[in-house]
Symmetry: C2
Subunit: 451 residues, 2 copies
């Protein structure tokens, strides 16, 4: 067999897969952050264009991908599926390991899969500018690229600590023409309030979301864009899993387990949900979400209604959460430092249809180094959680002496995260314990909701 | 037509193309740096394994690629050929522009194409360790990767100014297991002498070569590896042009002009030489080398015998040169800061079979930004020279109102070079004049040779 399975551009999916009709039970309502009553489409209109609001609640299993979006996808899609033969040999495992690699996009991760359709629908709606937040910069750079390709302006509120420590991703956004502010900024009430409380605030993703939402709500020509969590983002990311299924078919293998890193859920859901659809046809595939032990939303959070952001301006959704003001330790996988989780992922986890595991960052980097030294590619710190998960499955297959087909998602490359590898290689990487106390405190501040 | 042309792994070339039998005139001899007499294969044995010494002078037009090398190539080859439709539209040119993208390799550039066979042949020869030099780090990281994949140790002498200013590429080398020293180092006589003369020396590529050659010559189990200039390196890089020809065939187009950036010559030759072979069949394709105006080897150098390194330890070859102690200004395209050029490229340029152009760095970055904002990919500063060349050809086609097929090489991505883009976008990028005085001075110190 070849080392990688490539598809032609004609095989870029023509439809996204919508998991909503296949959910166990009905979708929980989305609540207004002030009234705590179900939101109406009108409530969302200041933030999102009509097609995205519709996708948020659509019960159509297959949603057509607009041709102009597929046209941009062609710049890097279909992405390759690799058979990790060198890794298998190094591990001495009887497992066959495959990985779907999204780092070939111009931004270096899976994030453009949703940034492109979001920019497209907003352009169609006559919107002039998009506002968003970004942590480590993967989402912000992807939206900057997508806006540039569709002729939209782009404003990014970047968590200040990343703005200062990850200047390269900030520069990429600027190269693609975005306007980037360190958050908390002086541009919004939420930002100014945070600065008044603490002029040296390092910022947080929750706060940056508040700034972007406020910016969008305050300007008629501006909408908001979110890089994960929401149903329409999950929907767009299913191109990843749909391609991976097609590619695996060419190998004759079907996965026993599909593994992906989990932050807000769009990477995990994008790869795994299309496999979930196979269960109706009797396939028994396990789906495993891998998260950081220091931000253990799925493994230590509660399944409850909570705000999407710190300032309580974003909608309230039912999800696994550590509390909207939970502040995770400063791990290198910045893209996984979110207090909540996709409501769709959460509902499936609560129903026992998927699994979740949490890993400390040292074993994740150890796995990433093993991967880089056998397969070549330098993984993003976020992706290293999936690699860790895959290595443990491969190890179990070895102990049991059984064949096993493992598919994992390599969501991005880590060439801009080399300081994290430096810390690991020089023994300076810190492992944070489960922040039990903080979790308990923030969970005490969940909104009181009548559902 | 699709946006990109992909080939399957079976279409990875089985042979490299050797231009030597197609050269106009015979190959100039390589001279010993001390005696200035032609070297013998024995002279090269302390530095290179037998197969590479043979490739250096082989007159076989097609050299088989060993299967273990093709096996590693499969990790990222064949690389994609793109039709730059969005760029064409932005330029309003009737030209059809194609680019061959080598940034998909794990190291992010074309350099692994030669690093892999060099590591392979040395492994076969029972060598335990390779020593090399690197400027910006593209070559060093590629050799580190290749050594890791074949189980060799790797020592890299990295020009000190890059070691300090480009820590990410240093970290990549270390991630792949290489031992990296800032050059000048205390590890070699050449390094210690340089430090004695100037403890604050920023280093240079020529000096780092001296250190690596001395290290290899001093240790029986260690060989030397060079990332450009030499005939065997040029040979390995022809996989790029061979694939591009196959891919263009699928489009029905044949290039009027093929354009590539030129530093030591391996990137330029790798893409263009396979097209040169078509001239015998009557094809009229122009081949254009693009170099920095601040290190104008091909456009302002002389065609003469000169040392490959500053300390006069590397062989003396006949090439276009600015003098072995020429010190180019600190442009961001660190991979193009070499005083000499491949003897093969030089011989073809002297015979009028190829063209050369020099560009200041500001217009190169301007071209790179135009490219990134239309095609998405962030180009390496080195590659920006080829983009500039391609844009000027496209502009001429527009002025003349004529169709034209342009192929250029996008040798690598620039995600680790964002500080250079920052400088450009903020107007802080410096353009250096042709360093006429320095060139004249260093050319006065060429070796006196009887050929």
């Amino acid at each position: 067999m070849d080392t990688k399975v490539l598809l032609g551009e004609k095989q870029i999916p023509t439809h996204w897969y919508n998991v909503i009709p296949d959910l166990p039970g009905s979708l929980a309502p989305v609540l207004h952050p002030v009234t705590l009553k179900p939101v109406t489409p009108q409530d969302l209109a200041p933030l999102f264009p009509q097609p995205l609001v519709e996708q948020e609640v659509s019960t159509e299993r297959w949603v057509p991908i607009p041709e102009p979006v597929r046209e941009i996808y062609r710049l890097w899609r279909p992405t390759p599926l690799f058979r990790a033969r060198r890794l298998e040999q190094a591990l001495g495992t009887p497992a066959r390991i495959y990985y779907k690699y999204e780092g070939v996009s111009p931004a270096g991760s899976h994030k453009p899969n949703s940034a492109v359709p979001q920019a497209y629908y907003n352009k169609l709606a006559g919107i002039r500018r998009l506002a968003t937040e970004t942590g480590a910069g993967q989402w912000g750079s992807s939206l900057a690229l997508a806006c540039r390709l569709f002729g939209l302006e782009c404003t990014v509120y970047m968590v200040k600590v990343s703005f200062e420590q990850k200047p390269y991703r900030k520069s990429m956004m600027q190269l693609w023409g975005a306007n980037v502010f360190a958050s908390p900024s002086r541009e919004t009430n939420a930002g100014r309030a945070a600065l008044a409380a603490d002029p040296a605030s390092p910022g947080s993703l929750g706060l940056a979301i508040s700034e972007a939402v406020e910016d969008a709500a305050a300007h008629d020509d501006t909408h908001y864009a979110l890089g994960s969590v929401l149903n329409h983002v999950i929907l767009h990311q299913t191109v990843v899993g749909l391609e991976a299924k097609e590619q695996l078919r060419a190998t004759g293998d079907y996965p026993d387990v599909v593994i992906a890193s989990h932050g807000g859920g769009s990477n995990f859901a994008g790869l795994t949900f299309p496999f979930l659809a196979d269960r109706a046809a009797g396939k028994r595939v396990r789906l495993v979400a891998c998260e950081p032990a220091s931000c253990p939303t799925l493994t230590k959070g509660v399944y409850a209604f909570d705000y999407g952001d710190t300032a309580k301006m974003a909608p309230v959704v039912k999800m696994y959460t550590l509390g909207h003001d939970f502040m995770p330790p400063g791990i290198h996988a910045g893209g996984l430092r979110y207090h909540g989780a996709s409501p769709l992922v959460s509902q499936l986890l609560a129903a026992g249809q998927i699994e979740a595991r949490a890993f400390m960052q040292t074993p994740c980097f150890e796995a990433a180094v093993t991967f880089a030294r056998t397969e070549g590619i330098v993984p993003a710190p976020e992706s290293s959680h999936a690699i860790r998960g895959a290595l443990e499955e491969a190890q179990r297959a070895k102990e049991e002496g059984r064949e096993r087909v493992i598919l994992f998602g390599l969501s991005g490359h880590g060439q801009l995260d080399m300081t994290a590898y430096d810390a690991y290689l020089s023994g300076r990487l810190e492992d944070f314990a489960y922040p039990e106390e903080n979790i308990r405190a923030s969970l005490a501040r969940l909104p009181k909701v009548d559902f």
